[in-house]
Amino acid sequence: MRVTRLLATAMKSILRNRMRSLLTMLGIIIGVASVIDMVAVGKGAQVQIEDQISAMGSNMVMIWPGAASSRGRQMGAGSRQTLKLDDAEKLQRECPLVTAASAISRTSGQVISSSGNWQTTVYGVSPSYLTIREWELQSGVSFTERDIRASAKKAILGKAVSEELFGDQDPIGAKIRIRNVPFTVIGLLKSKGNSSAGQNQDDIILAPVTTVMNRLSGSRWVNQIVVSVTDMNLMDEAQNQIESVLRQSHRIPLHEENDFRIMNQTEMMDRATQMTGVMTLLLGAIAGVSLVVGGIGIMNIMLVSVTERTREIGIRMAIGARGSDILMQFLVESVVLSVMGGVIGIAVAWSLAWAADSFLGLRTEIVPSTIALAFIFSAAVGVFFGFYPARKASMLDPIDALRYE
């Protein structure tokens, strides 16, 4: 029999039992749609995290103090205090590949204005910090090197802090008190929204690093140093330069480990990709199981269909259908059934992803290869689970089949 004829016969049989065909297809529809959408959600998360990492700044290298250990017990990242304000200045001076460096000294505290109060995190940074992070001011100015030297009591507010303290009013020039230390607001940051961890990136105050260390935290150590490098491709070389400058500065003997950790954006990106990749794979695999369950549904219905049509099979054999003709008839039927389910599943996946994106704000990224994969897989499910019933039909004895009631 010709392929077109086989397809027509299969379609007729599927349309004859619409409800049953639809329910059978539902298994494949759900399977295909969930594979595509699960991977889309995973991929969406990955893209979002990558966007955020690259939004952190350009060609950025981050340096943290190393882990303290007492009697062989590692205390975890940042448990030691090894980074000094000097280190940042040294990096900028001595590493040719470093364009800008800024120490960060973090503290939190209650902030009071004339019209409100709010607890937030104060970042003590140097003027280059805004350049490194690629943050922009909505209004006002940034502080200068002179402010750093003078430990000037000037502050730049994040959008959220400004709203809490001043409402809709322009905060520039206003006085605030951070932990009872008076500051003058000189700038307002542009809004950046939430980070991948769900943290509000606008809930922040920037102040000169020296001011924070001397007047607020009283610490000699900084929490972190961020550095921006001239070229993305020179990241490794820059990292080596940074490492040797810091080792020298910290007087670390040749065979001892670093008392600090370095990580660049590419590494962060790699880690995030790795993590979300595992998640995507896991989600896809779970969804794949439902596709297999859908296949079993097809097999079940095809077996029923073969039994129901035993007499028809007998008639077809009597008028000259070979076993292979009968095999093809049922195989094509199950493949058409599963491929139709696959196509509908793709459409469903598409609309669900779109709906999640536009109504729930859940970032989804449909991966074209999963569509192809899900489609091929659904056809394969049709062949695999359709083969046994079709084979059973083709092996029937024509006389027995003709007598079947």
Partner: protein
């Protein structure tokens, strides 16, 4: 000679019991014959018909259909012989349900490989016209009367121009008037040269044929030529007058 059967036996084994359905049949049928195979149920006539129709294989003896030694062919070869040389007509019509008359008749052509759809449709139409069903070809079986369904089945049997038309109790599910109509159709086809074998237990039906073979307990007990078969057409004319 179209059908040549020598010492044909068929034994069914069910567990420990074996049943001898055919015990040494010798039979030959020439082209253009109109044969009735008669016998009570259990006489072996259906088994013989299944073997002649290549649905079943004999246990012993030889069966030659045209030039094929049909007794030793495999499933696939038997299927293609059934497709091109045998036209089956069944008691219960055996049309494929929810499928139009035309599509039912086309089906054997589709199982013949390499025939374009347009040609299949044309052959099916011609075949339906030959059995007097020019219209109603787009109706599905349950929209047709018994007589019409049997005509569709005969059209389907004829569509590949087989060597033998093999009818198993073709009038068993029809009233007497329609039965005579169907026999008239067989007589007409036979007059055109088609070899027809009818299996029946009704003497009324057998008398329209040209040769009557009687079977009992798996053997042929008589094989008679009928000198002047009844004309189904004449009987139909009489029946018509009776109704008026």
């Amino acid at each position: 000679m179209i059908v040549g059967i020598k010492n044909l036996t068929k034994t069914y084994t069910m567990g420990d019991v074996s049943v001898k359905a055919l015990r040494g049949i010798n039979l030959s049928v020439d082209e253009g014959e109109f044969v009735a195979i008669m016998g009570a149920s259990g006489s072996g006539k259906s088994t013989l018909m299944n073997i002649i129709g290549c649905l079943d294989r004999p246990t012993g003896g030889t069966y030659t259909l045209l030039s094929h030694n049909a007794g030793i062919l495999n499933r696939k070869e038997l299927a293609s012989i059934r497709n091109s040389h045998i036209g089956f007509v069944f008691q219960s019509f055996n049309l494929i349900p929810r499928t139009t008359a035309l599509e039912n008749v086309e089906l054997p052509v589709h199982y013949r490989h390499g025939i374009p759809s347009v040609k299949a449709r044309k052959l099916a139409r011609e075949s339906l016209e030959r059995v007097g069903l020019g219209e109603r070809i787009h109706h599905v079986p349950n929209q047709l009367s018994g007589g019409q369904q049997q005509r569709v089945a005969i059209a389907r049997a004829l569509v590949n121009d087989p060597a033998i038309l093999l009818a198993d109790e073709p009038t068993g599910a029809l009233d007497s008037h329609t039965s005579v109509e169907v026999m008239a159709l067989f007589q007409e086809l036979n007059a055109q040269g088609k070899t027809v074998i009818v299996v029946t237990h009704e003497p009324d039906i057998a008398r329209y044929t040209k040769r009557i073979i009687r079977m009992r307990d798996g053997t042929i007990i008589s094989d008679q030529k009928v000198d002047t078969p009844r004309s189904a057409l004449k009987d139909l004319a009489v029946l018509k007058q009776e109704i008026i």
